[in-house]
């Protein structure tokens, strides 16, 4: 019973946090004019509606990766209609935060298409977190836009507008229900909030995110990308927030997360408390690049998430003995040196 109450409380907190994130971003993003940019092939990026939205457009209609904030949905739909009058047949949600799926309900409420009903796909962990009794009680109106075409396997294949599209589950990264989408023909990857080049990643520990999973997911994105000449261009990357990127930008971001992980792991090994770690300003060489006065993920929030994630992983399970000296520099608990092999 206690466990159920705890889970319920966690669920409510998660929803509240997600709603708070959405509300904050609604407050800052809503006045921003929307912008549609062609990425390459059949894929476009729509910016300004909350999280970035990827649009794949063709004769069969429109596939969307994420749908932005609910408040921005009417303006978002107007931009989509400028691009294509065709039916929206697919939505893929990258994760559970409302600045990425808030527009689902509006699209689900459009007149039905007799040829093929709208499908909304996401990893089942996202759906599970959105459909706890507590979450449903909090926001009953959004039931119509839930991702009921969920998947639980490591990958899910879609073929649409003549293009192979692969959905990859990235376990325990930004959350525990993240999906990365590869548009194989267009050579574009849509990452959700695993990759946010303008700010520190939001490692949502309360919703299953971990720094190890974040690094693994970034490395997997690097496996999916192939740069062109001089290590740029080639595969383009649509981040959760921010400008269109490519592999070189993901490399810089991955390096930042790894180096911060190494520093905080070293501090944990020296038995520093979270307050001591914050006071040491271990990220001061990245703060000027990744934090602005309007940042949702502040330095403290990022450091706390990494510290909490590493500390939780360092805690030995019952009956296990911790390794002498801790994990050591750069040894992320869970196994430094374990490349994300065996993936899909």
């Amino acid at each position: 019973m206690t466990k159920h109450l705890t889970l319920a409380a966690v669920g409510l907190l998660a929803l509240a946090a997600a709603a708070s994130l959405g509300a904050q971003q609604a407050a800052t993003v809503e006045p921003t004019p929307l912008e549609v940019l062609k990425v390459q092939g059949n894929v476009f990026m729509l910016a300004g509606a909350g999280g970035n939205i990827s649009l794949q457009v063709g004769r069969e209609g429109v596939l969307m990766v994420d749908t932005g904030l609910a408040a921005a949905a009417p303006r978002m739909m107007a931009e989509v209609r400028k691009l294509s009058p065709g039916p929206i047949r697919w939505i893929v949600n990258t994760h559970l935060h409302p600045d990425h799926w808030g527009g689902n309900e509006t699209i689900a409420g459009l007149p039905p298409d007799n040829l093929q009903p709208l499908k909304i796909a996401a990893h089942e962990n996202m759906l599970n977190r959105l459909t706890t009794p507590e979450a449903s009680a909090q926001a009953p109106a959004v039931q119509r836009g839930l991702p009921l075409n969920e998947y639980f396997t490591p990958t899910k294949d879609v073929h649409f507008n003549g293009e192979a599209i692969v959905l990859y589950h990235e376990p325990k990264a930004h959350t525990d229900g993240d999906t990365v989408v590869l548009f194989r023909g267009s050579d574009v990857v849509s990452t959700g909030d695993i990759f946010t080049p303008g700010g520190y990643p939001f490692i949502d520990v309360d919703n299953g995110g971990t720094v190890k999973g974040e690094i693994d997911a970034l490395n997997h994105i690097l496996q999916l990308t192939v740069p062109a000449k001089t290590q740029e261009g080639g595969t383009y990357v649509i981040p959760g927030h921010g400008r269109i990127c490519d592999e070189a930008d993901v490399v810089e971001f991955r390096d930042m997360v790894v180096i911060v992980r190494d520093r905080i792991q070293d501090a944990i090994n020296k038995r520093m408390t979270i307050e001591q770690v914050k006071a040491a300003r271990l990220t001061r060489d990245y703060d000027t690049q990744y934090v602005s006065p309007t940042s949702f993920v502040t330095t403290d929030r990022f450091v706390e998430a990494v510290y909490k994630s590493l500390s939780a992983a360092s805690t030995p399970a019952r009956g296990q003995t911790p390794a002498p000296g801790g994990a050591g520099r750069g040894q992320a608990p869970g196994g430094r040196g374990q490349a994300p092999t065996g993936r899909r």
Binding site: A47, L222, R243, I244
Partner: protein, 314 residues
């Protein structure tokens, strides 16, 4: 008293007709003193030779207006990163550094076929086959949401005989090849001047992330009509087994190489740490004494660039 000369009467319509006929020729002729940069150029390395050819010493930040963030980022940089992490192996210089690095250059003028006006200059370097376009047709900049590139997006405007170039949309890179960082928020301006067979390029870099004030540098090139640029195709190759979540770096305060440059050259350690004050000649009066005196005889990079001398260590 001399009578004023009578000005021949010209019919107004005739004058207008002449102007209309001449207009295309006037419009298609470059303004006086606009130089032609097209051709093959060889770099002259007399400026900052040790930094540019053998490469900068680790921990040498002198002359760079670094802020605290830039200094720590450089301190944590491990040279293994550019060889062990395959994604770095074939990276080119940034648009601001490529005019300074080790590479010869060809400049092509891109002409509008209709007007024969120069609409862009395209530079190509032999190192990594770096290419860059400098637009002269007054086009607007891409959206802030557009991709950034290593070369950036450049536009140029003539002012007398100087081509002033402004560049944005750059990728993260370096200001000096020893890990001093350059952010993707930096911009730079250039002033290109041709004096006969010499081209002088002054570069002014502004980086709100890592610099406290603009960094000004200059480079000189000489025209070399016999030069031919070849191919430089780069392929990334994993050189040692490495786990995906390993990025070589030094923890704060743990880089053992930062004092080398001060000890080798007999410099005060503080002077090698950079900062705006180290850019100016007056700094010599206040920088203090070195911990170790300068060596009695030169032992490192002694003849670099002098009389054609190489940079072999003695």
């Amino acid at each position: 008293m001399e009578r004023p000369r009578r000005i021949p009467h010209v019919h107004a319509a005739t004058l207008v007709g002449l102007l209309i006929l001449l207009a295309p020729f006037v419009a298609s002729t470059p303004a006086y003193a606009q130089a032609d940069f097209a051709g093959n150029w060889a770099p002259l390395y007399h400026e900052d030779f040790p930094e540019r050819i053998p490469g900068p010493e680790l921990g040498d930040y002198a002359g760079i207006p670094l802020n605290e963030a830039g200094r720590l980022r450089a301190d944590s940089w491990d040279a293994d990163r550019i060889s062990v992490v395959v994604e770095y192996q074939c990276r080119p210089h940034g648009g601001d550094y490529m005019m300074r690095g080790l590479s010869n250059m060809r400049i092509d003028a891109i002409l509008d076929p209709l007007t024969q006006r120069v609409v862009a200059l395209r530079t190509r370097m032999n190192f990594q086959e770096m290419e860059r376009t400098i637009w002269l047709d007054g086009r607007t900049r891409p959206s802030p949401n557009a991709p950034h590139t290593f070369s950036g997006f450049s536009t140029g405007v003539w002012q007398d005989n100087v081509l002033n170039i402004s560049t944005t949309h750059l990728k993260e890179n370096y200001i000096r090849r020893n890990g001093i960082p350059a952010s993707d928020k930096r911009t730079f301006t250039e002033h290109w001047v041709r004096h006969g067979n010499y081209l002088t390029v002054q570069t002014v870099i502004t980086d709100p992330v890592f610099l406290t004030e603009p960094l000004v540098r200059s480079q000189t090139w000489t025209l070399d009509p016999t030069q031919q640029l070849g191919r430089d195709v780069c392929e990334t190759v994993p050189e040692i087994p490495k786990a995906a979540d390993v990025v070589p770096n030094h923890l704060p305060g743990a880089n053992p190489f930062l004092r080398e440059v001060a000890d080798w050259y007999g410099l005060p350690a503080a002077a090698t740490r950079g900062g705006a004050e180290t850019m100016y000649p007056e700094y010599r009066k206040t920088m203090g004494s070195p911990t170790n005196p300068p060596p009695a005889i030169c032992k490192r990079y002694c003849n670099c660039g002098l009389n054609g001398g190489g940079c072999n260590l003695q």
